[in-house]
Each structure stands twice: as structure tokens, then as C-alpha cells.
Amino acid sequence: MEVRLPDGDARSRCAELVLPHLNSAYNLARWLSRNDADAEDIVQDALERALKYASGLQGTNAKAWFLTIVRHTCYDWIGRNRPAELVPGDGTDAIEAAADPRPTPEETVIADADAQALLRAIAALPVGFREVLLLREQEDMSYRDIARVIDIPIGTVMSRLARARGLLRRSPLLHSVLPQSMRTVGK
């Protein structure tokens, strides 16, 4: 197998380094945008940006570098399409507001009500908490790499992670596995 790369070609080298992380990129974009088609747009856009700034890819951590760009692209997209989600705050109120009452496509294929509730609770987390939680739990990223991707201090990674987990534990979505209407049936 050919592994030697053309010398001095930052773009193709960049593509070789970031493409292995395409699944991570799509997963992040999908969770931040909560929409399949938009996530595809975001990742394509991010790849084009990455190729453009290929010379910025230094060192070994292509994944953190690419996810940083994907995340920036996501935030640009959210800013254009759902600016309300970027309102700063501790997220306690937003968790209800952000919850879309309609089942998402993935929910309809998950039979387990508990799993659905968890999925909805995470989707309802404010975006700043959702991203930290998923980078940690799904990508198994270290605090240091998460701090790099989000461009915040490690201490902030820790406090957001704690907040995200706390919000999840207390999420009304997690505890009301049965909808209110079903629980009151027959009264």
C-alpha cells in the first residue's frame, strides 16, 4: 500500500489527515445541528475550510484540529439559522424551550422508552453543554483536547461537563418516560 505522500502539498496532506475523522465530524455536526441535511452541509463546508487553511494543521492531533473547524462551522450555521440557541445563560430554562416536542427520526427507530428519553434529554441540552458531553462520552476525548476544540480552559471543560451531567440527571425528560397524558389515562 502506498503511504508516502507528495512532498510539500499541504492540501492533500490535510485531506489524508482529516478524512479518517469524517465520522466524528459528522456526528458532532449532526448533534449540534440536530438535522441530517444540515449536518452534511456543515461537514462539507468544514472540509473546504480545512483544506483552505491546511497549513494550519501542525502536530499530530488532526482530529482536534478538524473538530475545531467543524464546531466553528456549526456555530456559524446555528448563528444564521437558530440564533436563539446561542443566547448565553446557565441553560436551566433553555432545556425546556429547546425540547422539540416532535419525535426525531432516530427516536422512532428506538423502541426502548428509556433510551428515547435519554436521547431527547441530550438533544434538549443547550448546545454548549451538549457538545462537551458528547465529545467526552462519545469521542472519548481528553479534557485537554476538548478544551482545544472549544477553545476554553480545562477548568471550564470540567464545570460544563458537570453542569451537563447535572442537567441530564434532573431532566424532566429523563424522569417522565411515560408522557403525562398516558399517566393520567383512566383517572
Binding site: M1, E2, V3, R4, L5, P6, D9, R11, S12, R13, A15, E16, L17, L19, P20, H21, L22, N23, A25, Y26, N27, R30, W31, D36, A39, E40, V43, Q44, L47, E48, L51, T60, A62, K63, E106, I110, D112, D114, A115, L118, L119, I122, L133, L134, R136, E137, Q138, D140, S142, Y143, M158, L161, A162, R165, L168, R169
Partner: protein, 258 residues
Amino acid sequence: MNCNEAAPLLPTYGDGELDPMQSAEVEKHLLTCAECAARRDEQVALSARIKRDVPYFAAPPSLRSRIDAVLAGTRGTLRSRPVWDRWRWLGAGALAGSMATVLAWLMGSAVLEWRDGTDLAAEAVADHVRATLSNHLTDVATSDRHTVKPWLSARLDYSPPVQDLSGEGFALTGARVDYLEKRAVATLVYRYREHVVDVFVRPAAEGTARSRSPVSTVRGFNVVRASGAGMDWLAVSDTSADALTAFVARLARGDAAP
């Protein structure tokens, strides 16, 4: 360490990000405090639920063809085929994550200075990469440890302990024989979530104490070593260092562990 000191450290401890000294202190406290142990269990359970129940969205084929098109625009800069084709052969499926890391390793090693050291960790990672790339992870593919153990014993001058830890997320998928420091060594192959974990097992070097597992990173792979149950254990994977450390410690405790 008391509850007031231990409680705020629990999340960091659970994420494997506490330094070894503090980690040991927290562990000591957990042994004697049911309340903190319950908090720890709750956090472990939440992480496990997220890993199990929350979907991971892999890039769909439609995105992959769009990426092809983007890269076609850069084809003039690529010497041969589009980048995509070079790793498409690896295919999708459970191994894709590991394969991708293997390729990142290879690509990285071509680009960056890579000293071909004689270091044990580097050698183990090289074995891992070779097996993954050649699509030949196991010589004997079975989750039955009663098949794996005699198979290895017949090919080596020792008989390594073999455990299937599916219950803890590490499913035995088989074994192969590799060479480390010019000696044949047993390699147990596990699957942990979407990651492949290779565990090299050989008789403990004379006088090796039961040590805390040192962790190193070689080209993006975590390498964790431990000694126990009469063996030296060395695990290589692209999964997180904390998961790997816990796993190796568990293996090194042996069968008789509680």
C-alpha cells in the same frame, strides 16, 4: 480524604483525568464511604447509558460522495487517486474507527519525523497496525476462551491466562501470535465498542513487581502496561487511556479477582 474533599473530585476521577496520587486517595475513600461510592456508580451508569443508547451518527454515503466531489477539485494536487479511494477499501462497519486511526497513524508517520525506535511500546503499536491493516487481526477467531487458550499454548512455550470480559464491555474476539523483542508472544484481541484492543501477554520478567500501569501514547495509540497473575500485560488501542488502564488492571488481577 473526607466526603467534602472527595465528592467534587468524583467526576474527574470517573473520567480518568485525576492525577495518580489524587486517584489513589479517592479510591481509598470510596472503599469506606457508601455515599460517595453510590455517586460514583451513578456517574458510571450515566456514562454507560449514553454510550449504549445514544446513537453515533456515522457519515452517510451521500456525504461521502459530496466529499469525493470536493476532493476531485483538489485532484490536481494529488499524485494518484483521490484520497478517498485509498481508504475506502477498508470498508465500513465496526472496525472503521480503528482503521481510520491506523491510517491517521500511517499518514502521520509519513509526514512527520518518526523514529523507528526499538522501544517496546513502538514495537507493539507496529504489530497492532500491521495486523489491522492486513485485515488479519486474529489467527484464531473465537470468543471461546477454552479454544483460545489451548491454541496459544500449542504455539508458545507458556500458557497465558485468557479471559472474556464481555460483561465489562471488552469482548474477546480471538488471538494471534506476534513477535515482541524477537520472541513469540500471545496477542489477545478484544473488541471494545468500535475499537480493537490488542493485549500482548508474556511471562513476567524475573523480579517484576506488580506495578501501577504506566501509560504512553505512540502515534495516537494508547499503550498501557501492567504486571500481574504471573504475566506482563501490554495493551494497544485507540480507545481512551482510562478505559484501557482499567481493562489492563482487570486482566492483571487475574481470574480469581473478586
